[in-house]
Amino acid sequence: MSPSYGPPEMMAVAMARLIRDGELVFVGVNSPLPLVAASLARRLHAPSSTLLSIGGGINPTPDKLGPATSNARLSVGSASVFDNVDFYGLVARGGVDTTFLGLAQVDERARVNSSFIGERQRPAVRFPGGGGAAAILPLSRRVILWRASHSPRIFVKEVPFVTSAGNIDRIVTPLCIFRKEKGKLVLDSLHPYVVRERLVESTGFAIKNLDAAPLTPPPTEGELAELRRVDPDGVRRVEFPARELSAA
């Protein structure tokens, strides 16, 4: 692997490439990588995409990106303040093209659990909750999921609770990109620094299209240069557990 990029850069660039020019893109809470990706896309191939931030801004121009994506500084430079009630109204009426959403667990049928494992009243594991995902996944035209970690406890055969399900287009991880095809997750591409055995070991279900899937094109020098300009403080790395950064 080229020393000039690792999983954070690969993920940020891969997520940016999924944004199409002209789209209205929503970036919610707890979403550093999507914030970097959407900001990057507007500087590269999607200058006419619109970034709607849960911080309250439309195409905000803050001094710098920070790790908290609900920060009201993400309304700086915006000509209006767009609050949470406005956003959920817009997505409900079909006005959002692409939404990025996180996940605690996802299964091979692309169902997401971000709620809990075990008994509801006294769960073995409590997750943060899905935020707006249960409403957004069926309503946003397209949803891109991401998780800065990839293990058999995250990518499971069957989730014990379905927090949300719906219009998932891609799932981007430090190892690969999945797409949803006929209701099932299928390997879309494998990141250039990942051997297929590692992906198999890290995933809790049999991976469809494992052998035929291409490698994700590595970030170009141009993409990396722009990424460093958009995100000089490395917000793209904040979600990664240390082991993911060192294992690459």
């Binding site: 809470v29 707890n30 550093p32 849960i54 911080g55 309250g56 920070g66 790790p67 908290a68 994506t69 609900s70 920060n71 009201a72 500084r73 309304s75 303040v81 767009f82 609050d83 949470n84 009630v85 959920y88 997505v91 409900a92 009426r93 169902r111 971000s114 709620s115 809990f116 509801r120 009243q121 006294r122 769960p123 073995a124 594991v125 409590r126 997750f127 943060p128 909750g129 899905g130 935020g131 707006g132 995902a133 249960a134 409403a135 957004i136 996944l137 069926p138 309503l139 609770f161 379905v162 927090t163 949300s164 399900a165 719906g166 904040v238 979600e239």
Partner: protein, 361 residues
């Protein structure tokens, strides 16, 4: 742990006594900013009466009432809050927090670690209120601390997080996994809809989306046929919290308030709850709000109490005054992982929290 102290905007002379006098027109604040003062003609009246006087005054002294006298004087001046509604709703933090009683349903403004009325949350924990139900789409620092303090028995939420770089709310998580705190699973917009139902005065509210989710089933949502088209839609019950507690940038003593940056859910919360308690970075004259009424996010008719609370969102942010204090957030997490850490944390932050008083110009 570093605790920011409020900055005074005018020179003050310190007085420490049980009885003193101040001149009309002088700037008067209480040392440690603990108490409300009401200026009426030549009297300064101690309106909240639960601690020894410890004054800071400017210039000369006039007459100062005793705690016992103040209620009567306030009543004769039409300012006492026990009877008819006063236009001056200022209360000290401790007194406003006493409005919240065991078993009530509350909603708290801000989101995650942004513009949370954190001083008020800590004061509730200090006072040991119990069995609250918190209704909030996106709690963070507030529920983490209240869960650690055992104040909340049930929460309805969409997502609970301290956000990056802190991640999940560990004290919330522990309380839920130990069975001390029940989560009624929601999505952010289903809480929003429950509050909208309350704000509109209707018994339930339709919500778009949710298809394929287990949330409606485990949380008791309904599904009804649209009487006009026959199409089915999910519905959630209206929820009217007893209190909305909201941190704002600016308020007047009547409870008109501005929020800079996104109001997040707070505009809706103020309309949905039975009554609203504001904590405010700045108390400003009503004329400031009347000059541009379209900037007032929360009108006085919803508001019961206004707490002067400069720095009242710390260690969460209050845009544009201050950002999340990351060092203080890490200190908080470290403190609460220690034995008796919560009690020490609440003690260490007490003078900061109770120091927010300002007298309106």
């Amino acid at each position: 742990m570093s605790v920011p102290q409020p900055q005074l905007e005018f020179p003050l002379e310190s007085v420490s006594t049980n009885r003193t006098e101040v001149a009309p027109g002088s700037n008067v604040v209480l040392k440690d900013f603990q108490r409300e003062l009401v200026h009426r003609e030549e009297l300064y009246i101690w309106a909240a009466t639960r601690a020894p006087l410890d004054l800071v005054t400017a210039r000369s002294r006039r007459r100062w009432t005793s705690p016992g006298e103040s209620a009567g004087l306030l009543a004769s001046a039409g300012l006492f809050r026990g009877g008819e509604r006063s236009m001056n709703k200022q209360l000290a933090l401790e007194d406003a927090a006493r409005l919240i009683t065991d078993g009530q349903v509350i909603t708290i403004g801000g989101t995650l670690c942004q513009r949370v009325p954190a001083a008020f949350v800590r004061e509730m924990a200090r006072q040991g209120v119990r069995d609250l139900e918190l209704v909030k789409p996106s709690p963070g620092y507030d529920i983490d601390l209240l869960a650690a303090a055992g104040c909340v028995r049930r929460i309805r939420s969409g997502i609970v997080s301290l956000e990056q770089p802190f991640g999940m709310a560990p004290n919330f998580r522990r309380a839920v996994e130990e069975g001390r705190l029940e989560v009624i699973e929601n999505a952010c917009p289903t809480i929003m809809a429950s509050l909208q139902g309350a704000s509109f005065g209707v018994p339930f509210q339709p919500v778009a989306g949710l298809e394929g989710s287990d949330i409606p089933k485990v949380s008791g949502f309904g599904k009804v046929a649209d009487p006009f088209t026959g199409k089915e839609v999910y519905v959630v019950p209206a929820i009217r919290p007893d209190w909305a507690i909201i941190h704002v940038n600016e308020a007047d003593v009547r409870g008109n308030a501005r929020i800079y940056g996104s109001p997040v859910w707070d505009r809706l919360m103020s309309r949905a709850a039975k009554r609203c308690i504001l904590t405010a970075e700045k108390i400003l004259p009503t004329e400031h709000f009347a000059a541009q009424p379209e900037l007032t996010v929360i009108p006085e008719v919803f508001v019961e109490a206004v707490v002067p609370a400069r720095g009242g969102a710390w260690p969460t942010s209050s845009y544009p005054e201050y950002d999340v204090d990351e060092d203080a957030m890490w200190s908080y997490l470290e403190r609460l992982s220690e034995h008796d850490g919560l009690a020490r944390y609440l003690e260490e932050s007490k003078s900061h929290d109770r120091s927010g008083i300002e007298v309106a110009a």
